[in-house]
Structures are given as C-alpha cells and as structure tokens.
C-alpha cells in the first residue's frame, strides 16, 4: 500500500497539521512502509466476525440529564491563551 503525495497532503489537511512541501515525500514513504506492514491484517478471516465495540462486556449507562458540576467558567477560561469578557478569543472569521 503506497500513499501518493496527494494522499499525504489531503490527510495533513484533514487532521490540520501544517506540512512543508519538502516533507511530503519522505513522510509518504514512511507511512507507506507502516501501511505495508499493516497489510498483514488482510490474511485474517473476518467473515461474519463482529467488530469489537466494547472492550469488556458492559451496558452503557444512562444518567439524568442534569448539571452535576458547573459554575466554573472562569476556571476554564483561566487556561485559555486568549479570553475576553467570558469568551475564548479567536482570529477574525468574518471580514
């Protein structure tokens, strides 16, 4: 399984990780090596095998749709790189 340069650029954009053009080829080669190794999974007979969705047998629980812990806006915003008047600040979106 070989990744093309376009595959690498497309995935980098999907996961929002900046990539210099000079990195595209080496990264593609490295990922291709890893995917060739992963190809071994094609040998396994998975006909009618359910994909694992729960690691140990358990039922997902329901809980009341109610606030359990709250009133912590300022503590949360305390970690923001930029905050103003109770909001996170981001670069201008609309000109």
């Amino acid at each position: 399984m070989a990744l093309s340069d376009d595959d690498v650029r497309r995935v980098a954009e999907l996961v929002r990780i900046g990539l210099d053009e000079s990195e595209v080829k080496p990264l593609g080669e490295e990922l291709s090596r890893i995917f060739s190794w992963i190809e071994a999974l094609r040998e396994v007979d998975v006909e009618d095998v359910a994909p694992m969705t729960s690691v140990v047998e358990m039922q997902l629980r329901e809980r009341d749709d109610a606030v359990t812990e709250g009133d912590c806006r300022d503590r949360i915003l305390g970690n923001a790189p930029a905050a103003d008047e109770g909001h996170f600040v981001v670069p201008r979106v609309i000109e």
């Binding site: 929002r16 990922l31 992963i38 071994a40 358990m58 997902l60 629980r61 923001a80």
Partner: protein, 490 residues
C-alpha cells in the same frame, strides 16, 4: 542524619509510620533528597516538593489525632498524563505548555483521599506515544541501570519517568498509564513491578486521553504487595467514566496469601519467536520451572492471532488518538501559534505543538478513518481485535493465567531505534495483545541478562480477575528472590 527511608516500599513505610518509627515529614524529606540526587535521570518534569512538605505535616497531624487514613503520608509520583489540580500537566507535549488543570483525575483524587502525597510529575513519551521515553518534549529519561562507563539506556516507555524514579529508590510508588504496554515494558526495562488492571477497573476521568478503548491507569512499585495496595485504592466505579466497570473491587491483600498449588498456568506457543534473545527465552523457561516447582499445572496454549495484534493496534490506537487529539486547537488551553484565520491558527499550532511521532500517528489515524478507507482498515482491525479477544477467551477456559516475557529485549541505548518507527513498535509485541483484549497483566522483575540489565516476566489474567493474577505474581516474585538495585539508585 543520613536516612534510608526513601528505600522503603509502600507497605513497609506504612508500617513504620503506624508504629511511630518515622514521621511523614521524614519520609517525604528522604524522598525529596533522593529525587534531587537522581535529577540526572530527568525522570521528574515538575517538582512538587513544597506542597508535599505541607501535605506531610498535615499527615503527621492527622496521625497524632488518630485520624490516619490507609496510605497516610506515603509519597507517590504521578505520570504527567494525570491532570493534577493546580499543578502543570503537559503529557510530555509542547502543545500543553502553560496548562494547569482546574481539576484532579479520579484515580489521583482517590489516592490523595486515602492519605497519599503527590511527589513529582514524571516524564513520559509525548501523549504516551512511544516505547523509550524519547518522544518527550522534556528530553529523554536515563535508565538508572545504565552502566557508568557506557551509553545512556532508555527506561522504556511511555511511563519511563515513573519506572525510573521507582527503580532509583526515590519514591515508593508511581502511577503510570498503559495503552499497549506503557506500564509493563518500562517496568521490565527498569526492574520494577508494573500492573495494568482490567480495562474499566480504574477510572480514566482526568487522564489525558490517547486511545480511549485501550488506556488504563496502574501502579509501578518495587513489590507485588505494593502494587496490590495501590490498586486497591485507585480501583472502583466512577460515574464520570462511561466505561468504568460497576463491579466490587476484591480484597487484593488477602489474594496475595496462599499458594499456587493447582493453579493452571498457560504458555502461549505463538510467543516463542525465533528472534527472541537467548537470555529472554532462558528466563521464560526459568519462570516455567519456578511455577512447576511451586505446584502449578503448566500447559501449552495457542493464541493463533497473536501476530496480528501489533498491526491491529497500529490502526486502532492512532485512529482513536487522531480523534482524541483533535481537541488541541490552540483556542481553549495550552500553546497557541499566531494564525491569520482560525484554520491557519489550528494548523500552525498543531504543527508546532506536536512532536514528530505524535504527528505521524495522527496522520495514520486520520488516513484510516478517512472516507473510503474506514472499512478496509479500522473496521477490519476491530474485527481482528475480536478474534484476538476470542483467542484469550478460549485459552482461559483451559488455564487461569498466562506466563510470557514482558518485552523482547532488555533496555537499549538512547537513539538506537529513533530512526525506525517499526523497530520501536516491536517493543510492545508481548504486551499489546492483552491490551487489545482489555485483560489485566503485570510485569515482575525476574532476573538480569548477560549485561546485568533487568528483564521482566509478564502474567496475563482473566478480565476483572486481578486477585488470581496478583496471587500468581506474588508466587513468581517469591521464587525470583531478591532483585538487586540499580547502580544509579539513591
């Protein structure tokens, strides 16, 4: 007055404190001094000595009032992946620069509620992605077993700082997390006990997520009894973690009593690799002989899908990581790069904030989850995972525990495998299968190789049967006898 209090284990220190032979202040001071002496290991990334001193004074006051809790005054180092209220938490990543959690992880809170004292946040591979502690933004950790006249060796990873600081006798116990072997492999490399509980046994709440269906917290200690003691206090149901198991926690201390006569120990044939170093194979044989001598019933078992575990893991874990790490956008916490618009801000922040291995795994995860590839990779990997879990279920109809090596080698020099991701991934070949199946497993220091480096043996148990696992581990530990301390210990 010179003190050897830092060399005490959890149970011994608890007994000394209870008897009034030493105070929590003396114990904590001894560990602080030992951590300062071990500073060259780079095992601790955030020092918490001052708050530990305050906590130790409070612990002594509680004891004087006859209000001592079970772990009153016991210092514990914590991997820097556990959110600690008011104490910087980075997960070994630049992208969490400046992040100070406003809350405590459930597992951490349980320890502090039992009287334990936070002493040091420990170094780790960035977001727990690595098997050598070399992907940390804080630089590599030196294994205390490194020869004085030779190259610096890795402590294993990702919980490398926790394993190294416990091995260096600078704290009685540490918390780690294990996703594919991140507690057990460093425990093996550093000659300490490392326990990964059953998935769901300990709450994941407040632990920075890597791969949510695999991550599990657990202790690193210098004895099986201490690992049991710490697990007893961190285990249990937590409504804040939707995958937390609502099951009673057995009395693990009493599980350690009794012998292994009649215990059925399985030896998985597929773990006998042609490439296994002689010293590792020999130690495994010795482990088999020890169990036989103790009256256990040994038998060969087959786990036919073992060889597919690592490739399946390298789809499932990066896929979950790429989703979990999508939250690091430079807006709400941590590091922020300048960008012209929000998209540019995210892309630059993530480029500059994540290290090479993390970027690689996010790319793998993004690719296998992308349109047109999901069924071929992610779905198939989860089907293979079911097969691997079925292998274990079949084996556990015949036996009670499995005995294997923990890692395919002893500790290797820093830089030896950093250029080859696949060579690094193979470190987890014996630990990943149990992770994929969610099973509890423990690494016990079982001997030294020709270079006088520690090697561990791994025991794997049934889901939620930590009691039998620890009973077998205690028997193995007793057969091994005294394990030497590393030259690089305090």
């Amino acid at each position: 007055m010179p003190s050897d209090l830092h060399r005490l284990g959890v149970a011994e220190a608890t007994a000394r404190l209870a008897a009034g032979d030493c105070s929590a202040v003396e114990l904590v001071e001894a560990c602080i001094a030992a951590q300062e002496a071990a500073a060259g290991l780079n095992a601790v990334v955030t020092d918490t000595a001052e708050q530990a001193r305050t906590a130790a004074r409070h612990a002594d006051q509680r004891r004087q009032r006859n209000e001592a809790r079970p772990l009153e005054g016991i210092p514990v180092a914590v991997k820097d992946i556990f959110c600690t209220r008011g104490v910087a938490t980075t997960a070994g990543s630049r992208i969490l620069d400046g992040f100070v959690p406003a809350y405590e992880s459930t597992v951490g809170a349980k320890l502090w509620d039992a009287g334990a004292i936070l002493l040091g946040k420990t170094n780790m591979d960035e977001f727990a992605m690595g098997s050598s502690n070399e992907t940390s933004r804080w630089g590599p950790v030196r294994n205390p077993w490194s020869p004085a006249d030779g190259p610096a060796l890795v402590p294993g990873g990702s919980s490398g700082g926790s394993a190294a600081i416990v091995a260096a006798r600078a704290v009685p116990a540490a918390l780690g997390t294990d996703t594919g072997g991140s507690i057990r492999q460093p425990a093996s490399f550093c000659g300490v006990v490392g326990l990964k509980p059953t998935y769901g046994r300990c709450s994941r709440w407040g632990i920075i997520a890597f791969a949510s269906s695999l991550d599990q917290a657990g202790p690193l200690t210098r004895s099986v009894a201490d690992a049991a003691l710490i697990l007893q206090h961190i285990a249990g149901f937590d409504p804040k973690d939707s995958t937390s198991a609502d099951l009673p926690v057995p009395d693990l201390h009493s599980a350690l009593q009794g012998d292994v006569k009649g215990l059925r120990v399985g030896i998985p044939a597929e773990y006998r690799l042609d490439t296994l170093p002689v010293a590792v194979g020999d130690l495994w044989e010795r482990g088999i002989a020890w169990f036989r001598a103790a009256g256990a019933e040994l038998s060969d078992v087959s786990l036919p899908h073992t060889r597919y575990a690592l490739p399946a893991y390298y789809i499932v874990a990066p896929a979950e990581a790429s989703a979990n790490l999508a939250r690091y956008d430079g807006v709400r916490f941590g590091r922020r790069s300048t960008g012209e618009d929000p998209d540019d801000l995210y892309t630059r922040t993530r480029r500059e904030g994540f290290g090479e291995e993390v970027r690689r795994r996010i790319m793998i995860g993004g690719y296998v989850l992308s349109e047109g590839y999901y069924d071929a990779y992610y779905l198939r990997a989860q089907q293979v995972r079911t097969r691997i879990a079925e292998d274990f279920q079949a084996a556990f109809r015949e036996v009670d525990v499995l005995l294997t090596p923990t890692a395919p080698s002893s500790a290797f020099p820093q830089g030896a495998k950093t250029d080859d991701p696949l060579a690094m991934y193979v470190n987890d070949i014996f630990t990943v299968p149990a992770s994929l199946a969610g099973l509890p497993a423990i690494s016990i220091p079982a001997g030294l190789d020709d270079e006088r480096l520690p090697l561990g043996l791994q025991l794997i148990g049934r889901a939620f049967d930590e009691a039998t696992l620890l009973q077998a581990a205690a028997a193995l530990e007793a057969a091994v006898g005294t394990v030497p301390s590393p030259a690089g210990s305090a």
